[in-house]
């Protein structure tokens, strides 16, 4: 009895160990799983795409012609030795006209660093109406040690933007692109 039950114990130990390992893998599998489930079921579509905006009548334009208050912000991922700052913190801009704002980026380290900026809009719905023509976020930027450069960001605020959006915050998050330093 001793031998057979010892073997039984081993087998059960092994099975339970496998369960533990599978569950460890399952934790990592949850990340793609969540994405797939949300895509398939569509339960996470919190913001539904609206019907195309109707052509704006000239009389409405007067209503929406009030200038939009713009704020600019930038955050840099911890560990990325960059300083990113907009030269003006905020401004008022009319709809439908070109707006230009300059950002200054400094590589404060003594090595070459590649970075990528990702824009965010607050409120998020404003993102569809800010039409960017020029932006450093369009591509990865390579900075030599200690280099400082200025980048213009040029955009137009669509006249079709709903009138209740009176203020937009444009925030950039900048993160590094590992292994791209010398490209």
């Amino acid at each position: 009895m001793a031998e057979s039950s010892r073997a039984d114990n081993r087998v059960l130990l092994l099975k339970l160990g496998v369960i533990a390992c599978v569950m460890f893998a399952f934790a990592w599998a949850l990340i793609p799983l969540y994405r797939v489930i949300c895509e398939v079921t569509g339960i996470n579509q919190l913001v539904k795409a609206d019907a195309p905006a109707p052509a704006v009548a000239a009389s409405d334009l007067a209503v929406t012609a009030a200038p939009v208050r713009l704020r600019f912000d930038a955050t840099v991922q911890a560990g990325l030795p960059w300083q990113v700052r907009p030269l003006v913190g905020q401004m008022a801009a009319p709809r439908g006209e070109f707006v230009r704002v300059d950002y200054e980026i400094t590589n404060a380290s003594n090595r070459e660093v590649t970075g990528q900026a990702v824009p965010r809009y607050l409120p998020a719905a404003a993102g569809n109406y800010v039409k960017k023509l020029e932006c450093f976020c369009f591509r990865q930027q390579v900075f030599k040690p200690g280099e400082t450069r200025r980048f213009p960001v040029v955009f137009v605020i669509d006249r079709a933007m709903p009138a209740d959006i009176g203020e937009i915050t444009l925030a950039y998050s900048v993160f590094d692109v590992p292994g791209q330093g010398a490209s």
Binding site: R10, A27, Y34, Q77
Partner: protein, 542 residues
């Protein structure tokens, strides 16, 4: 003889080892169980000191003793130490001590692995405690270690992550041991559907631990790689999602709640029948209720996240699933009351703690159902109402059941009786001051006081003062318990073979104190529901 790791020695060839080596190289389930219990009590005291620091700071508005950074570290470590250092090891320790006695096994199935699962705990606890003294201090993201806070902190966070890894390995090994022991080492006649409730609860809990502790290990590993290896699992700037952390964490976190509750249910299902002198009412339904709670616990995790902007469909699903758990839990409370109904009840200390458990756990369950309502939860999320809720189920639930268990099995473990007057004093003192501490927190939460803050608005002062006074009295009262235990181990009266009239499970059939090597030969038992022994033959001890 079915223990695999004492191969080569029949147990009677070695007696009781002595000195430090007995504990360092312990393979005896009773020695390891005792170490687990002492370890968890030590952690209970250190977590308690942190709690008193928190309550001292909250005695009045403004900052008195601690800066917010240290305050956050205290709340975080209080939670981690109590959950992973006190409650979980205490239940594992009890399972170690009692399972072989309850099911007629000579020892745990893997005695050396058992040693290892215990000795992993002290280093992990040290990692947690020394993290207060590293640059940047201990982890301060709350015991849930939410990203992105957890991905930004100093090296205290790394120590915490490693400690969690070690604690996870320890509890998984402990659980494997429990499962194998219960499934393979039961004495002839002790069938699954006759097994005592504590064995059932430990078995189901062990399965839960094996299923979810690896998930916790996984998610803290992701935090670790986000911190040091350039991944972006939870970094929005890099395409990750901080809310994903919460989803994975609570996939572990909600079953964890039941990991800390189910063994308590098991203990109470022993004590109430004993002191009511009646068999447990509805044993089979208890087994199925425990199992269904375990299954349901995997389907409710997102009720911790109602304010993260979930779609309404998901909110409704998790709300109803959570409310569903009240059904099997209600079955249990009903059965305990049914057991007491018309029983010849007597109120020794274990029974007092068990009845206190039933009353207060029900209060905690009720506030839990309140919180499960998605619309209400939006108001109550992260307020003191939540703090009140989970302390009712964890302190008055898990901790009270542990006190009940220690008082109940103390005679069998040590061969001595504890002091009954001191035990009763400990109960009434704890019962009163527990409620003074935590009941006002319901009001604070409803009034909107957020949790995890060192300072608060003036209108919350009165209730916070009451809670702080209650906490200090409650904390001091636990020293009565310590004194009672230490004194009774040395000077207690010799305990009779069966100190409780109505105790009918297998561990009461052996001599007192339990022999160092009990059931070296498996007994043949004829058992009824809940492990009640009708007759036993064989079963030698050394």
């Amino acid at each position: 003889m079915a223990i695999s790791t004492t191969a080569g020695h029949a147990p009677h060839e070695h007696g009781k080892p002595t000195g430090l080596w007995r504990w360092l190289a312990a393979t005896n389930h009773k020695d390891i169980g005792s170490m687990y219990l002492w370890f968890s009590f030590t952690m209970f005291l250190s977590g308690g000191v942190m709690a008193l620091c928190i309550r001292a700071e909250l005695f009045q508005p403004g900052l008195q003793f601690f800066q917010p950074e240290l305050f956050n570290q205290l709340t975080t470590l209080h939670g981690l130490v109590m959950v992973f250092g006190a409650i979980m090891p205490a239940f594992t320790g009890l399972a170690n001590w009692l399972l072989p006695l309850m099911i007629g096994a000579p020892d745990m199935a893997f005695a050396r692995m058992n040693n290892w699962s215990f000795w992993l705990l002290p280093p992990a606890a040290l990692l947690l405690l020394i993290s207060f003294f590293v640059p940047g201090g201990a982890a301060a993201a709350g015991w849930t270690l939410y990203a992105p806070l957890a991905t930004q902190m100093g090296m205290g966070m790394d120590l915490t992550i490693f400690a969690i890894h070690i604690l996870g390995v320890s509890s998984i090994m402990g659980s494997i041991n429990i499962i194998v022991t219960i499934l393979n080492l039961r004495a002839p006649g002790m069938t699954m559907m006759k097994m005592p409730m504590f064995a059932w609860a430990s078995l189901i809990t062990a399965y839960l631990i094996i299923a979810v502790m690896p998930v916790l290990a996984g998610v803290v590993t992701m935090v670790l790689t986000d911190r040091h290896f350039g991944t972006h699992f939870f970094n929005a700037a890099g395409g990750g999602d901080p809310v994903m952390y919460q989803h994975i964490f609570w996939f572990f976190g909600h079953p964890e709640v039941y990991i800390m509750a189910l063994p308590a249910f098991g203990i109470v299902s022993h004590i109430i029948p004993t002191f009511s002198r009646k068999p447990l009412f509805g044993y089979t339904s208890m087994v199925y209720a425990t199992s269904s709670i375990a299954v349901l616990s995997f389907m409710v995790w997102a009720h911790h996240m109602f304010t993260t902007g979930m779609p309404a469909t998901a909110q409704l699903f998790f709300m109803y699933a959570t409310m569903l758990i009240a059904v099997p839990t209600g079955v249990k409370v009903f059965n305990w009351i049914g057991t007491m109904w018309q029983g010849a009840m007597s109120f020794e200390t274990p029974m007092l703690f068990a009845v206190g458990f039933v009353c207060l756990f029900t209060v905690g369950g009720l506030s839990g159902v309140t919180l499960s309502v998605a619309a209400v939860d939006i108001q109550l999320q992260d307020t003191y109402y939540v703090v009140a809720h989970f302390h009712y189920v964890l302190v008055a639930g898990a901790l009270f059941s542990l006190f009940a268990a220690i008082y109940y099995w103390f005679p069998k473990m040590t061969g001595k009786m504890y002091s009954e007057p001191l035990g009763k004093f400990h109960f009434w003192w704890s019962m009163i001051w527990f409620n003074v501490t935590f009941f006002p927190m319901h009001f604070l939460g409803l009034a909107g006081m957020p949790r995890r803050i060192p300072d608060y608005a003036l209108q919350f002062t009165d209730f916070n003062r009451i809670a702080s006074i209650g906490a200090f009295c409650f904390g001091l009262g636990q020293l009565i318990f310590l004194y009672n235990m230490l004194r009774s181990i040395r000077h207690g009266q010799a305990a009779p073979h069966k100190p409780w009239e109505g105790a009918e499970t297998l561990e009461w059939q052996i001599p007192t104190p339990a022999p160092y090597h009990s059931f070296v030969e498996a007994p043949h038992v004829e058992a009824g529901d809940n492990g009640v022994i009708h007759s036993m033959t064989g079963g030698a001890h050394h």
